[in-house]
Symmetry: C2
Subunit: 106 residues, 2 copies
Amino acid sequence: MAGITLINSFRVPAGREDEFFSRWRQVNTYMQSKPGYLEHTLYRSLMPDATYRFVNVARWESLESFNAAHDEGFRALVTDADWSAFPPNPVLYEVVHQGERQPTAA
Amino acid sequence: MAGITLINSFRVPAGREDEFFSRWRQVNTYMQSKPGYLEHTLYRSLMPDATYRFVNVARWESLESFNAAHDEGFRALVTDADWSAFPPNPVLYEVVHQGERQPTAA
């Protein structure tokens, strides 16, 4: 799979899920408008006591486009005291192996 | 997106990536044969100092099929002293939001 993948894991205090999601959507909408954005999936943990209760997996065309997207507009959105309640843990990855279920013989 | 998603993050000591990948593939091949397995992507971090240097994102049809797949055969594969070098951190998630790049007007 082409490109690079951001896996960004968030600590979200219990009871503040809606607030997190609303703020995350604001940033996500902004990032989707940037050149090089390809796709994303936001996950919520099924276990309420998971360390990272939300994880965003976002694929970008290249490291260059990913870096360029983190511009002043992005910083203005996240440099907000209320974001401090939802500390992110962003790490960049590349795909090394993929598979999917094979059709079974009828 | 239907089903549940396992996000399994692994600590992998520097220099032991090939050994990890070989062992992971063994388990992965086994799990792919199980009812309910849908797809997976294994990621490797671009930053050598990341806490979790490999992350497996695997989608399953249901919690029931996921649990059933972790059977004696699975335990026999992972109950191996050499796996202790690669501690996993498995967490189950559901998808709450997805998006992809929209075609641009020509």
